[in-house]
């Protein structure tokens, strides 16, 4: 059982606030959470098995913070953050990381932007110093910005343009989110990306990047005390930003209409049906345990071979070759619970969708069995143990949680909360949230029109 116990640490350098220190009783790491004087939060997840660290900085800014007309800007800036500072010219940081044998990358979502390096632990301070430098020191010229804009357009082609499935997902988000900034793709709309400029990027950077808008998460071979000392020597020197804009995004109205989309493309060889329901995230759940009930609901409905959708549609009724469900609790705004299915040859998408609806209706009507619920809990709680095997998984897990409205304490207690969910709560979640009026259904079909066939 996971239970929190405060670890007493001595010789902590002060001037930083010790927020929490917790340890899972299953032998998980003692996790430390500090706040520097300039508002930067530091989370340390010790793991001394290998002499390496995963150093991540998470900024509380993402695509949802873009103003209308500038879609893709948060992600574009993420790319441009590798283009050098007043102190370190373009490429120097990457060259230094490569010399260490390190890995580096970055990623952007609606809610946050994160950068990371995986390096030998002896090099931790170096990467912290570079990262602290580019928190405020970024210098951009058109000579580096313009080729990079081509790179993000190619990235868009690679992720979306070349994939009809990804295009359908983009369209479904646009239809699901009526008012929230999540309605546009994180990578941006192409016609807007083409006009993103150096000035756009710098203005966005100056508005959002600073120590009091960031969380540093370090997993791996370092003690909390040492990490804190290094953080103070590096990030601690960066001045707090006094003019951080508030993040008040438009929220979703009560949905009233089931929406259906069809995307037809000559390249589609395997038709599929997808559905997304607008549901609460961990952050937006109004009742305790609601988000965890949705975690379990999605798993029972569509997590793997034992799930309802798979057993009913793929194994028993043989309507589908694949079917499943997922839920993403990590979101500052309302999030999605998704379902999908690919029909067997000879089965129509409408027949398959009908089958999916029947599975949902039965779950709403009869609820879940004790054995199903038990298995789902075992799986989700085991995932938390398996995650401990990877410093990078742990750093990502905590970072994601902290960026989406949760605390270190919430992460520590998540298995307890999963354990506490009852069969009735799962059934209630299904009844309340799997209401078709809250959903968008997407059909991906082959375009068989003469023009389409000519084009392909």
């Amino acid at each position: 059982m996971l239970r929190r116990s405060f670890a007493v640490l001595t010789a902590v350098v002060l001037a930083a606030t010790w927020l929490t220190a917790a340890r899972a009783e299953t032998g998980g790491p003692r996790i430390a959470d500090f706040m520097l004087a300039n508002g930067l939060e530091l989370v340390v997840i010790p793991d001394h098995r290998a002499p390496v660290v995963t150093h991540m900085i998470w900024y509380k800014v993402g695509a949802a913070d873009e103003v209308p007309g500038k879609s893709g800007l948060a992600h574009f800036l993420e790319h441009l953050m590798f283009k050098g500072t007043a102190k370190h010219p373009a490429g120097e940081f990457s060259t230094v990381v490569a010399r260490m044998g390190g890995q580096e990358n970055a990623f952007t979502t609606n809610d946050y932007t994160a950068y990371f390096q995986r390096v030998p632990s002896a090099q931790l301070k170096t990467v912290m110093a570079f990262e602290a430098d580019r928190m405020t020191g970024l210098v951009l010229t058109d000579a580096v910005v313009l080729p990079e804009r081509q790179v993000i357009l190619e990235e868009r082609n690679q992720r979306i343009g070349n994939s009809p499935r990804a295009q359908l997902s983009v369209q479904m988000d646009a239809a699901l989110y009526l008012n929230s900034p999540y309605h546009k793709p994180v990578i941006g709309w192409r016609h807007e990306m083409e006009h993103l400029s150096r000035d756009d990027a710098i203005a966005f950077y100056k508005r959002y990047y600073g120590p009091n808008n960031a969380v540093v998460v370090i997993g791996g071979d370092v003690t909390p005390e040492h990490a804190l000392a290094l953080a103070k020597e590096t990030y601690g020197k960066v001045k707090r930003r006094t003019d951080l804009p508030p993040r008040h995004w438009p929220t979703e109205p009560q949905p009233v209409a089931a929406r259906t989309l069809t995307l037809a493309d000559a390249r589609v060889e395997l038709p599929t049906v997808q559905r997304a329901y607008l549901v609460p995230s961990f952050a937006t759940a109004k009742q305790r345990g609601e988000s965890q009930a949705l975690d379990l609901l999605a798993y029972i409905l569509g997590g793997g071979n034992n799930s309802r959708l798979y057993q009913d549609l793929v194994v028993d009724r043989k309507l589908a070759v694949a079917s499943g469900a997922w839920y993403d609790s990590a979101s500052l705004g309302m999030t999605k619970l998704g379902l999908y299915g690919a029909p067997r040859p000879g089965v129509t998408l409408a027949q398959l969708e009908h089958g999916i609806d029947a599975v949902i209706a039965r779950l709403i009507d009869k609820g879940v069995t004790a054995e199903e619920l038990d298995r789902a809990k075992t799986r989700l709680i085991a995932d938390a143990v398996y995650a401990q095997d990877s410093q990078t998984s742990m750093a990502r897990w905590y970072g994601t949680a902290l960026m989406t409205g949760a605390t270190v304490n919430d992460v520590e207690h998540w298995p307890d909360r999963i354990r506490a969910v009852t069969a009735e709560q799962v059934q209630d979640a299904a009844r309340h949230w799997l209401d078709k009026r809250r959903s968008v259904t997407g059909y991906l079909v082959k375009d068989k029109s003469p023009q389409a066939e000519k084009r392909s």
Binding site: A98, M100, G101, P147, E154
Partner: protein, 443 residues
Amino acid sequence: MKRLAFSLAFAALAFLAGAPGASAMQIERIVSPSGIKAWLVREHAVPLVTLNYAFHGGTSQDAADKAGTANLAADLLDEGAGDLDSKTYHERLGRHAIELNFRVGRDYLRGSLRTLDEHRDEAFDLLGLALSKPRFDIDAVERVRGQVLASLKREITDPRDLASRRWWHTAFPDHPYGRERRGSLETLPRVAVDDLRDYARRVFARDGLTVSIVGDVNAETAGKLIDRAFAALPAHGDLKPVAQASPAGLGRRIVINLDVPQAVVAFGGQGIARSDPDFMAAYVVNHILGGGSMTSRLYREVREKRGLAYGVSDNLVWFRRAAVVIGGTATRADRTGDALKIIEHEIRRMAEQGPTPEELAAAKSYLKGAYALTLDTSGKIAAQLTEMQLDNLGVDYVQRRTGMIDGVSIADAKRVAKRLYGGGLLVTVAGRPKGLTSGPIRD
């Protein structure tokens, strides 16, 4: 296909042991009560056990007209065994969150198991049942076959799959290495249940087995667990020989017409055997040209300077009977020709001039440091131990690796660059690349 991750990693106990504050990774060679050899790393920090193993005999055992047999058999291993039908078997796994994975490559069937400590006996028993008594019930066979066919069908219009498959098919015509590992829409329907049984009988044997285990277990416990999984297997398998091969089609470019906004490119040529004395030099040189960091020549020229692609890289790939160097990129149709010209130019330049001493030093530094990152989870360690055994690197390779990298001189690098990149390229492109057609590649 991509073996970069583990190939960066051939060990270095010396490096790990020498790093301050870190616990040294100790590899123990153990033998189970029934006589199965394995490598063990004890790991106390996390309450789980990870097993990684491989059997000789991957898709290269498939008959040409029944390509996809090995993959289908592997996909069916968790679909019922012994007295347990598919549903019961999956419920047994699910009840204790036991993870089993099976994956077929050209030379090997690789598998892994992950379990919480408290359920390890059950986990290893279930694996043992899957390997020694797979059921191949017709219902499960048809269901899984349908899933594989669906994925093959979907990929008919995926430019990445098209470019890659055409590359392998052209490079290794009439050789099992040239075939897609899951078979094709034509061959997979021909695979009968008897073919699956025959594959299992020929491959799942103790003489073709390599085992690695990582967890909070001593040699005695590890040996007992290993026997639960493997002792019931027959002593000897029955593998078909696989012919030695070299990539064909070098000097050719093949364009596959497909209406997509971005053309996908695969390029490559003759590689280098893992056992070749020049392997490490080749590894270092390839890292400089197109290895997976953000500092390679290809990355700099194609992406950083010109913004022609989101990604570009190449890798050494080696099998038991062939070796290639293969890379890829994806770029807009009107600039595909430019991107290819740059790639071809950089490859030629590397062949003719080799790397600079500065590049060589930087690459060595990277490759030495990067090793530790490939050994920071139990799963990664177990997988590395298996690859080290399959490649006959020896348990002391970990101590020797750093010295081998340091031993690559600039003269070695230049000589090997010529050998590796001087033999011409086979290029396949899927998309609508402006101005590019199939035919010989000219300078």
